[in-house]
């Protein structure tokens, strides 16, 4: 509300003169900005107006009273934070201009201030000036007083802050002391010369020395005979300030001469400028921990039931033997398991089974211990003895025999006599030729051979047999993928009539184009396929391919060449065979009489009723049935009569004696001749297999044999060679 007034306000002022208000305004304007702590303008005006009124009221009072009011007004300015010397000088300037003409008292004002101030300052207003002087006096006194108070306050605050800080420091020191004293971990502090300055009670208890003993000794005197050099190298680095801490496990000698294992951490303490000053050691007893750790390690490495090293330990041991072997060194394994252990478990219960394993383990240990060897349990009823540094397999075979004998001794278990035998696979190899995993696999494989030989047997590893089996295994497992992909091919070999050389038929022969092993004949994988059951889909595949191929060559017709497809025994037992054949014919369009199925003698000997039905059904459809490789089996002629056959394929072995016309073996000639006549008697055609020479052709023709098959008459070939196949020889 109170703003600076200037001449422009004069008219208003003349109408309604307010000399006090005007002076207040001038005063406020004069001190504005001199307060260090700015107050809102309205508050300032309010204050000054009040002060002015008090002055006006006091100006005519007796001097003492007047002085007291003046001082109060000066002090009030200070209280309101007009503490700047300027505040006072401005105040004096304004007030000394003259007293406003308000109330009973007259006053002096500046001429330009307006009509409210008496125009002529005739006698100087001594009373007023004296009053204003007391204001200055009061101001100065209050200011000084205030400064002293504030100084006192700030010093008190500083003292209080210091006290607080030192209390906090004290508390934190006490806290540290309490931690130090009460810690269960041993703590020691030393200087960089290795003098021990302080240790806590836990460390005294740990090593059994009183504090004086520690203080007498240096850190270096805590060396333990078992310390590795490393420990003190780290210590040296720490002391030289090259590292800030290290931690390791170290033994200390206790006062009673015993050793204690500890976990030791030593840290370097630096001062504020980073210079190394002290060393701090934290030490705690890990003797029981180590014990426990060793026990856990033992448990991790040993089989809980028998206490023998477990598989993990054995493998580590095996790796170590291989890793440390000198070139040319050899090693061997006896790998054994119990024969029929599952039956023991099943009939006598697991408890007895476990007891038996423990008993066997003990016997094995007693056999190998004298040789300085150890036996490990790999799991279940499998045990293995590793023999490093062997010279030949004889040593291992002897060991295997001893092991078998030891196991075969009857065991007395809870009043019961239990007899058990084991089988042993023995491998003995040069370490350079094999790796640990291969050695173990070989032993496992050999054990399998031993088992196949019957109970209580050992078998010795044979690399060739192993290689064969590995190949077989690989082929057998790759077969499904080959069948699904394009790797199985069907090739065809011609069967030619001997009379005129024309085509009698073609035999479908499956081939496996193996990505790594090249083109494989049926001999290398059909047997595997039979074992695994893959033969059924494989046979179906060949059958369909052959029918389609034959149709594309021969078209459909009752007579003319046929395609001959081999049937495995297992296929013959497959209930879907007849349907498969029907579908293959239907899909290809081939006439049943253009299809011949070759079966082996062994497949039909002692035929079960189902096979008989199958053969009847196939023959009933019009499909030709042929006996393959005739003469290699029992050659029981009786069955030839019983079966609905169309052809006999004479095994190639009969033709060996017929290689040359002049030197033909008369017995063989006679034999073949008889078979051909017999076959013809039964209404069967005969195809001789394995025809390799013209002489054979000549002789066979003379013997009235219908057809021949063999390298001389045409090798098996890709169907793309169709043209040449159909040509007569």
């Amino acid at each position: 509300m109170a703003g600076r007034r200037d001449g422009g306000d004069r008219a208003d002022a003349a109408v309604q003169p307010d000399p006090v208000g005007a002076l207040t305004a001038r005063w406020a304007a004069a001190v504005a900005g001199t307060s260090y702590v700015p107050l809102p303008p309205d508050e300032v005006a309010e204050l000054l107006r009040g002060l002015l009124h008090r002055l006006l009221a006091a100006v005519d009072e007796p001097p003492l009273r007047q002085a007291s009011v003046g001082k109060q007004v000066g002090a009030a300015l200070v209280d309101a934070h007009f503490t700047n010397p300027q505040s006072l000088s401005q105040t004096l300037c304004v007030l000394l201009d003259g007293r406003p003409a308000a109330g009973a008292a007259g006053g002096r004002g500046e001429p330009s201030g307006g009509g409210e101030v008496l125009p002529d300052p005739a006698p100087p207003d001594r009373r007023w000036n004296a009053l204003v002087a007391t204001v200055a006096e009061g101001f100065s006194a209050a200011l000084q007083e205030r400064a002293l108070c504030e100084q006192e306050e700030i010093l008190a605050a500083a003292a209080a802050a210091r006290e607080q800080a030192s209390e906090a420091l004290h508390v934190s020191q006490e806290r540290f002391r309490a931690v130090f004293e009460g810690a269960t971990i041993g703590i020691g502090i030393g200087d960089l010369e290795g003098r021990i300055l302080d240790v806590n009670p836990a460390l005294m208890r740990l090593l059994g020395h009183p504090i004086e003993e520690f203080r007498r000794r240096s850190v270096q005197e805590f060396m333990h005979p078992a310390d590795v050099e490393h420990v003190w190298r780290l210590y040296g680095e720490l002391i030289r300030g090259e590292r800030d801490h290290f931690r390791l496990e170290k033994q200390f000698l206790k006062s009673d001469g015993e050793s204690v294992w500890t976990d030791l951490t030593v840290s370097l303490l630096r001062d504020g400028d980073g210079r190394p000053r002290y060393q701090l050691a934290l030490i705690h007893d890990v003797t029981t921990l180590r014990h426990l750790r060793r026990q856990l390690e033992f448990e991790a490495q040993h089989d809980a039931l028998t206490g023998l090293p477990n598989r993990r330990t054995f493998l580590a041991h095996l790796d170590a033997v291989f890793g440390q072997a000198s070139p040319g060194a050899r090693a061997g394994l006896c790998y054994l398991d119990l024969d029929g252990f599952k039956a023991v478990n099943d009939t006598l219960g697991h408890e007895v089974g476990d007891q038996l394993l423990v008993a066997v383990a003990q016997r094995l240990v007693s056999v190998v211990r004298d040789r300085g060897l150890s036996v490990a349990r790999l799991g279940g009823d499998e045990f293995v003895v590793l023999v490093p540094g062997t010279s030949d397999s004889g040593q291992l075979v002897a060991l295997a025999e001893e092991v078998l004998a030891a196991v075969a001794q009857p065991v007395q278990l809870g009043g019961r006599r239990v007899e058990i035998t084991a089988s042993v696979g023995v491998v003995e190899r040069s370490i350079a030729d094999i790796d640990p995993a291969e050695l173990l696999r070989a032993a496992d494989m050999t054990l399998y051979w031993a088992k196949a030989d019957g109970r209580s047997q050992w078998a010795l590893f044979e690399p060739e047999r192993n290689a064969r089996e590995i190949t077989r295994y690989r082929l057998s497992s790759a077969l499904p993928a080959a069948l699904a992909g394009e790797d199985l091919r069907v090739h065809y070999q011609p069967l030619r009539r001997l009379a005129d050389g024309r085509l009698h038929g073609v035999e479908a022969l499956v081939r496996w184009e193996h990505p790594r092993m090249g083109l494989l004949g049926p001999g290398s994988f059909v047997g595997l396929a039979e074992e695994s059951g893959m033969i059924v889909p494989l046979g179906r595949h060949v059958l369909r391919a052959a029918c389609r191929q034959a149709f594309s060559w021969f078209g459909a017709g009752r007579s003319g060449p046929f395609v001959s497809v081999n049937l495995a025994t297992r296929q013959l037992r497959d209930e879907h065979l007849v349907d498969d054949v029907r579908i293959a014919l239907a899909d290809s369009g081939l006439h049943p009489q253009q299809l011949q199925l070759e079966i082996t003698e062994s497949a039909v000997i002692g035929t079960d009723p189902l096979t008989g039905h199958t053969l009847d059904a196939l023959a009933g459809m019009g499909v030709r049935l042929a006996i393959d490789d005739f003469g290699t089996g029992y050659s029981n002629l009786a069955y030839l009569r019983r079966l609905p056959l169309a052809e006999l394929k004479l095994d190639g072995s009969f033709l060996r004696g017929l290689r040359s016309v002049d030197a033909a073996d008369p017995v063989d000639v006679q034999l073949v001749g008889s078979i051909v006549s017999l076959a013809h008697l039964l209404g069967l055609t005969v195809t001789a297999e394995g025809v390799e020479t013209q002489a054979q052709v000549t002789i066979l023709r003379e013997l009235d044999c219908d057809a021949g098959q063999g390298t001389y008459l045409g090798r098996p070939a890709d169907p793309a060679d169709l043209g040449r196949l159909l040509d007569p020889v």
Partner: protein, 267 residues
């Protein structure tokens, strides 16, 4: 870096303190010869300083009155210094007799002084803590006993953030405080800037490097980042005297105050 809070602070009276120097600028005698020596040197280099400090203090008062007028009754004054006059609690309690105020400062002497002055006032508390450890401030038992953080409060960081250098992450500290604030809370901030007087600022900064709280001047844009997550109330971030001046406050050359002030609201 600053000392972790569990290490007791040392009281080193041989170095000037920002709080006491500030008191001297404001005409107070809560200061020691070291403080006055430094303040006199600063003023000789930069005669405007007392006026700047007054402008700052005036802004503080106007901002508190403004917020009190908007119903804010809880104030957290961080970097409160040595209460000279026109303190936050006086201004706030003038508007709301029940208003509660917590003063926080990292200067142990300022804290001790505040405690002496405020005595047993139930509605105020004084906490010795560091703005850089925002969590410590917010979790302080006295803060929790005095203020209800689930209700709107005003956080005052007036003339203090320029004492926190980048490496101590002042923006992070303010953001962590912000995240703890209830909607309707406010941030009151003033900050020294070298935008108004680039010539004088450098030597000034130099002087403050002698105190335990050296200065970091920031540009207006940088200062505005403290208000991330707040909505600036009118007139925004402006030179100190220009923030809602009282009717008669004449402001010539407001840029000479070299400080920006603003109030933000958390929605």
């Amino acid at each position: 870096m600053h000392r972790p809070s569990w290490v007791p602070a040392e009281v080193d009276l041989s170095r000037p303190s920002a709080a006491r120097v500030y008191d001297y600028y404001l005409g107070g005698s809560h200061n020691l010869e070291v403080d006055r020596r430094m303040a006199r040197e600063a003023i000789s280099l930069w005669p405007d300083l007392p006026a700047i400090m007054q402008a700052n203090r005036a802004f503080l008062r106007r901002a508190v009155r403004y917020l009190a007028g908007r119903g804010i009754t809880q104030f957290l004054d961080i970097g409160s210094g040595i209460p000279t006059v026109g303190n936050v609690h006086e201004a706030a309690q003038q508007a709301h007799p029940g208003a509660r105020v917590v003063y926080v400062d990292s200067d142990p002497v300022a804290v001790a002084h505040s405690r002496a002055i405020l005595g047993g006032d139930e509605q105020t508390a004084v906490v010795h803590a560091d703005l850089r450890e925002a969590e410590t401030v917010l979790e302080d038992p006295a803060v929790r006993a005095t203020l209800d953080l689930d209700q709107p409060i005003a956080v005052l960081v007036v003339a203090v953030l320029h004492f926190v250098s980048e490496e101590d992450d002042p923006f992070g500290a303010v953001a962590r405080i912000r995240d703890r604030l209830a909607p309707g809370s406010h941030l009151v901030l003033s900050h020294a800037s070298d935008e108004g007087r680039p010539d004088a600022a450098a030597s000034h900064r130099e002087l403050y490097s002698r105190t335990p709280t050296p200065m970091t001047m920031r540009s207006r844009d940088e200062i505005a980042r403290f208000f991330d997550g707040f909505e600036l109330v009118d007139p925004g971030l402006v030179w100190l005297p220009l923030w809602r001046p009282d009717a008669s406050d004449a402001a010539q050359h407001p840029e000479r105050t070299t400080g920006f002030a603003g109030v933000g609201r958390r929605g």
